[in-house]
Amino acid sequence: MLALPRSSRRAGGLIGWLNNAHVRAILYQVLTAAAIVLLGWYLVHNTVANLDARGMSVGFGFLDASAGFGISFTLIPYQEGDTYSRVFLVGIANTLLVAIISIILATVLGLIIGLARLSDNWLIRTLSRTYIEILRNTPLLLQIIAWFFGVFNLLPRPRDSLSWLDVFALNNRGFYMPAPLPGPGFEFVIAAFVLAVAFAVGLKRWAHRRQDATGQIFPALPVGFAAIVFVPLAVFWVLGAPLAWEMPELRGFNYQGGLSVPPSFCALVVALSVYTSCFIAENVRSGIQSVSKGQHEAAASLNLKPSWTMRLIILPQALRVIIPPTISQYLNVTKNSSLAIAIGFPDLVSVWMNTSLNQSGQAIPIVAMTMAFYCAASLTVSLIMNQYNRRVMLKER
């Protein structure tokens, strides 16, 4: 409830009331909000009325209609008779797959290149600098097309595939690998893995506390790592290796069975990771260089191992500088994955905003849904990364 300030009561009447700055501010805000709502309503109403006048149907009813076209690569099951809403999900799954794989590869690659950029070795330093300067300064779309037509489309045909131990095959229809077929009891292996990870985390905490209390050092990292690798492996053998592999085999036109990704996927992931890795490499370099030389020297004078200097002194300080711009790179990867349309990889923009839009003609709902997805995805990524950033931020005590 708004309590009228004393001054307006004294002046009395509507004029006096309007002369009150506080009341006026609220009044303007209410009017502005109303105008924005009206404007939004007008835009929606106008669009619907105009579409109606042109005889174009509107609404989300088409989502339940059968899409009727094939999609070359789907992460989740899809058949030609499925609905448009299924196509939307297929597109989202494919986009997320590309984004996640590219983000992981770009981060690993960017970290290596960024550290190589700071190397004392002239050759490594110059090579990584050349890599960054060339790849960062050419358009991404060009790189995607170059990878696709210059590399993956020129691979041999299925009959002459590049094959590695008859397990992996690469040809101009895609990359083929064995598919795991978990047998009975495989869930115990997964459970063992989860337990081993929990054990490793606990071990690290315990070692940290012990070191704080007694100064004794326990090699928690190698021991934890060994536990994560060997415990599930032991369970796996004890249970009699309950995992079969479905091998890709050349049958008819192409390899059948196993897991496969199309050449457009390979080209897209390679181009996105390589391009983004340059920016991440520069973030890593700037982060490390932002830590003053005195920190290195102090660590050296305490006779700390170089690996410890990096892990315990330089990186925690460098991460504060590295993370914020890297968040935007992760967001860029997610959004840049929409360039897939140029080489026909069925990501969200390609199957939804292009194919589905064309086949159904429902431009407005489709564009709105696509925008909503990208907005939601970007906000989620930045939310997660901001949480992480808060953890490594300078703690002021």
Binding site: R54, E80, N172, Q359
Partner: protein, 343 residues
């Protein structure tokens, strides 16, 4: 920005939106005349249908429909601005008024006609979907394509027919899609797919531009009906009638034997049907808002249906689709080309 300034800005924005909405109701014919040229949408260059020559001029059987409409309106077949856009955005571009008409091997279907705000004005080429495969693949029938990777343009009826056909026959396929026909053809030639599917005329047209056309063969089966024709926006029926009756006039002239060469002599013909089509008798042109002799201009400048067919896709061209005995022959000669009477 102070609160009330913001308010006025919002109000001004609303007002300007109101004005923007009012301009679209004007008739297309009046707009085209006032503008001085026709905005005609074609596809990415495809020989025979909408081909682009080295000196930048468009030609083809679909381009000739645009030229005929321009000749009907202006008496000049070249008052046209060609808009070459991908098939993915063709209907949007037409619906929002960027193009006055499109003439670009577009299939007439019920959904497009009823739900996309489009009006199909006839058929200038009866086609069907087929498959192109390399000769050295040894494939001779569509039924041998089980498990094949098939290149297809996205956003087309072809893409839907492809899925329907394989589903109906219990066969598997893997599509390779793109919105750009040049990319798709490049992928097919690079071996990225086992077969390329499109309307058979489109396959023949594309093959004619391959480095070695004889190394590729069109499989005999036709898996769909593809009536291709010019399209206009729904809501301006007079404009639709102009495009429809220009096309019908060219088909009727083909049937009556009126060509670009003998049109002047035919003006003196005693045949009342010929007199009506050339505007010597009757007022069909006026009913459309055009000159009475608009078909004379169309026939003189562009020619009748038979002429544009033979010139662009006929047996003597690189495309080489003989007209005799196909659906595109006149109804009197075993085809299904049948223009409603011009009276």
């Amino acid at each position: 920005m102070r609160p009330h300034t913001l308010l006025f800005t919002a109000a001004a924005a609303v007002a300007s939106l109101g004005f923007a909405g009012a301009a679209t109701a004007q008739e297309t014919l009046a707009q085209v005349k006032e503008r001085g040229h026709l905005n005609c949408q074609v596809g990415l260059p495809t020989p025979g249908f909408y081909g682009l020559s080295d000196d930048g001029t468009w030609s083809g059987i679909d381009v000739d429909i645009c030229r005929a409409v321009s000749a009907a309106i202006f008496g000049d077949p070249d008052q046209i601005e060609y808009q070459s856009v991908t098939s993915a955005v063709r209907f949007t571009s037409l619906a929002n008024g960027e193009s006055d008409m499109l003439s670009r091997t577009t299939t007439w279907t019920a959904v497009r006609d009823t739900q996309l705000g489009l009006e199909f004005t006839g058929v200038n080429f009866y086609d069907g979907q087929g498959f192109l495969v390399p000769v050295d693949s040894g494939i001779t029938s569509v039924m041998e394509l089980d498990g094949a990777t098939v290149c297809v343009l996205t956003g087309t009826t072809t893409e839907l027919n492809l899925a329907d056909f394989f589903r109906a026959n219990g066969m598997e396929f893997e599509p390779v899609t793109n919105e750009n026909v040049n990319v798709i053809v490049e992928q097919y030639l690079g071996g990225g797919c086992d077969a390329y599917t499109n309307d058979k005329s489109g396959l023949a047209a594309r093959r004619s531009a391959f480095p070695d056309p004889s190394a590729h063969v069109i499989l005999p089966e036709t898996i769909s009906k593809e009536p291709l024709g010019p399209v206009v926006r729904q809501g301006d029926q007079n404009w639709g009638d102009i495009v429809r009756w220009t096309l019908n006039g060219m088909i009727e002239a083909d049937e009556l034997g009126i060509t670009s060469e003998n049109v002047d002599e035919m003006m003196n013909s005693d045949n009342p049907t010929v007199k009506r089509i050339l505007g010597v008798e009757g007022n069909i042109g006026e009913g459309l808002g055009l000159d009475p002799d608009f078909m004379v201009s169309v026939l003189k400048n562009v020619g009748n249906y038979g002429e544009i067919y033979e010139r662009n896709v006929g047996a003597d061209t690189a495309i080489g689709i003989a007209r005799d005995g196909t659906l595109n022959a006149q109804w009197t000669e075993g085809g299904i080309l049948y223009a409603p009477p011009f009276r």
